[in-house]
């Protein structure tokens, strides 16, 4: 039991550096695209569709 718990807690640490860099870069690119689209983009369709979300989540709007 103890060994299992230790391994679980450390499982993320056992990933190789290149694995972490690839996964992190992909997640960062997709995440920032979503945040820019919902929170920052000037396009009026994105602005109006996400309008209430921008105000509710504290993004600068207007």
């Amino acid at each position: 039991m103890n060994t299992a718990t230790t391994t679980v807690t450390n499982s993320g640490l056992s990933l190789s550096l290149s694995q972490r860099l690839i996964a992190g870069s992909l997640a960062l690119m997709l995440g920032l695209t979503l945040l820019v689209g919902t929170g920052f983009a000037g396009d009026f369709r994105l602005h109006n569709g996400a309008h209430d979300t921008r105000h509710a989540m504290g993004f600068p709007c207007h």
């Binding site: 690839i22 992190g24 695209t33 509710a56 989540m57 504290g58």
Partner: protein, 248 residues
Amino acid sequence: MIRNLFFAALVAAFCAGLVAATIQQFRVVPLILHAETFEGEAGHSHDDAATADHAHAEATPAAHDHGDAAQWAPADGLERTAYTTLATVLAAAGFALVIGAVSMFANIPITFANGFVWGLAGYLAFALAPAFGLPPELPGMPAGDLAARQLWWGATALSTAGACLLLAKTRAGWAFAVAAALVLVPHIVGAPPAPEEASAVPAHLATEFAAVTLGSSMVFWLLLGTIFGKVNDVLAHRSLAQPAGATA
């Protein structure tokens, strides 16, 4: 492994985003709708009841980058609720993927044990610190240049997140000094100020809005971090259980 990261991020975003969207519909959106009735009170004609409520472009063309009165906006009611819910869940997915990426780069796994702290750091970086300089803003409130505010918002979030990450990696004395500087510098530089003009929105709406948005953001971030960590733990257990199951 990449699949696990994306799966955990999206599950957490979906759950926390739906909770946040629900709080928004009951407590935040009514205040936005109320504020919009004051927006552009001077010279705004309510000739089209279906679109007038949300067409701020025609109400305050000077405050907008996009003054086209015929532009699309979701119709009030179910359509607007659906778009807001979708946008909140997508923004949640964006935040979840960003903290997932940070956990990969920093080599600090998000677990059920530390997920709450991840959420707290996200709340500090992406909600509380930006709100300290740019208070949550209702439609119709005077505000500075949009691009300048977006830049300050992003820089403040980045700087505050950097401080949290630094302290997560090391508790050395110099790290506290650097973290304090990272947190303080955006506020010493200062957010773009709002123009000195009277707000069209009554003060009691604005104060309630500030409290409710910061509260709902906190619920959102604490849930996001905690669920993210829980799903990560479950996935790690499953990948461990598979070889064990084969031998049993």
